[in-house]
Structures are given as C-alpha cells and as structure tokens.
C-alpha cells in the first residue's frame, strides 16, 4: 500500500481563536491548548467547495457532535470502555476533518489515553465544554 497522504502539520499560527499550539501538545489539556478551529484548515475547505456545500456541511456539525457526545455519555454510564473509545474515535475524526483541533485532541485523549472508564469519565466535562465552545465558533463561520 502506498502512502497517499500524511497528517497535517502544526498550524497553530493560524489559530482562529488566537490560541497557540505546539508540536509537543499532543493532548487537549489546558496548559497549552490547541486552537478551537484551525484557520488554515477552514480556508482549505472553503477553497475546495462551493459556499453552499460549505455551509451545509458545517450546519451538520452541532447535531452530529451532540449525537456522538450522547453516545460517549451513554457508553460511560454503562461502563462500556470499548463503546466509549469508539465514540471518541468518531468525534476525533470528525473534529480533525473540520479543523477543530482542541476538540479532536480531547476526543483522542479519551480514545487512546484513557485506560479505564473512570479516566474517560474524568475527561467528559472538559470535552463537553470544548464541544460547546467549538459549536459556537462553527456557527459564526457557517
């Protein structure tokens, strides 16, 4: 299999909300938060599609992210670590695709950095908070 793509580089200088990230900021922690939205990513998406398509896609984000968050909450409530990780994986992928770097990092923390359901549960409130903040910025862009 030939590698056709690679993960995007650090684009913190283009952070929409002015926050800075660093190559070592591999998590969504508060000490060195990643940007809510990566402006370079947003620009690339805007340039690759019509305005109508861009709006339509962005309009899906609040509903879909809320749906996945509810999946994660439900999985945590029933002590289902695999289900929690699947939900976090889905949220991570979606967030990364739209350039929601902080949300993606937090979701990834739950997906791969939470060895127990308690650890995942401990990150839930922060995830929910960042998801809300991300949706506010998304609504402004869309």
């Amino acid at each position: 299999v030939t590698i056709l793509g690679k993960k995007g580089g650090d684009t913190a200088d283009n952070a929409v909300d002015g926050a800075k990230s660093s190559p070592t900021a591999g998590h969504g922690g508060l000490s060195n938060p990643r940007p809510l939205l990566d402006e370079a990513r947003i620009t690339a998406l805007k340039n690759a599609m019509s305005q109508a398509h861009f709006r339509a896609a962005f309009d899906c984000i609040p509903h879909e992210s809320a749906r996945i968050l509810n999946q994660i909450k439900a999985a945590i409530a029933r002590g289902d670590l695999d289900g929690t990780r699947r939900g976090a994986h889905s949220l991570n992928g979606m967030a990364a695709n739209i350039g929601a770097e902080r949300l993606a990092a937090l979701a990834r923390d739950i997906e791969v950095g939470s060895p127990t359901i308690e650890a995942a549960s401990g990150r839930l409130a922060h995830l929910e908070q960042v998801l809300e903040e991300t949706c506010v910025v998304v609504a402004e862009i869309a």
């Binding site: 398509h53 991570n92 992928g93």
Partner: protein, 183 residues
Amino acid sequence: VGLSKHVTCGEGSLRLSTLLSVSDKESEETAHGPSGETSGRGTRALRVLVVEDNPVNHAFTTAILSNAGHRCDVVENGAKAVAAVQATVYDIVLMDIHMPEMDGIEATRRIRRLGGPVSRIPIIALTADVVAGQRDDFDTVGMDGYIIKPLDPKILLSTIDGIACKSRTENELEIRTTRAPRS
C-alpha cells in the same frame, strides 16, 4: 489482471494492482466516461462511492469531489458498500475503516471475493491512524492505498486524478495491445 504497477499522474502517486476493464467497449466507456464528461480539473469525471458513517465527514468529502466535477454516492457502512458496488458501476471506492455493522476491512475483503470486474475496483482507505499492523491489513484484503484523515482536499483530488489517469493509461494500453497487428 493482477498486474502491480506504480502510476504517477499530476500530483497523485499510487500503486494499483488492478485493471478496470475487460473489453474494448467497457474500456472505451471507462477511458472517456459514460457521457464523456470531464472533471473541473481537466481529468475525466469519475463516479465515486464514499463509504463513511459520519455525516459531517461525508458531507465534506462529497462536497470536495462534487466541486471538482465528480459524481458521488454515499453509504454509511461496509455492508451497504458491498451491495452498492454490485448495483452500480463505480470508478473508485473511498472506504472508511471504522464503521458500524461492517467495517472497511471486511467490506473490502468481500468486494474482492465477488469475482469479475467489480472485484477489481480501486479501493482507497480513509483512516485516522495508520500503524504497521493496519497497513498489513490494508494490503492483505487488497486495498490500493490509503488517505489519512483529516482529509486534505488536494491529496484527495490528486488521488482521484491518479485513478482517472491510471485507468485511462491502462485502458489505452489494453486497447492498443488488443488491436495491434500480429507479426
């Protein structure tokens, strides 16, 4: 069939191990598109099956491809992808890996076992992470390549262009071979 070659076309570079057509008539259609359409990038428009369970992800993927002149259909799991490729002729499948009901690995395995031209359709994995073991899985089930999420529009389109270029080149080669006078 079964030929493995590395094809470079424009920005795209990929290895493919399949031939898309089996007859001159089908070759002509594949080389020029059923209606002779071209994409907005000068390459022929392709019919793409996007297999992705997340509505936001497939909205962006199809928007990028549609804007470039390609035609897209979307299904949300592997089982529906296996059914879709048997019902419609696609030029390429973009296959998410983690999906409910049937994942992309199993769907690819089943498509490759269908037999006939449909089993040789190019399948590109869409994946968030690629570790060594996963690359082996992609190879084992017969995927033709992978694109790492988040999707870069340029990489996505260059990959599609590479498929279009590859199918045209191989079909033209096949036509010439078929029509070459015997010595």
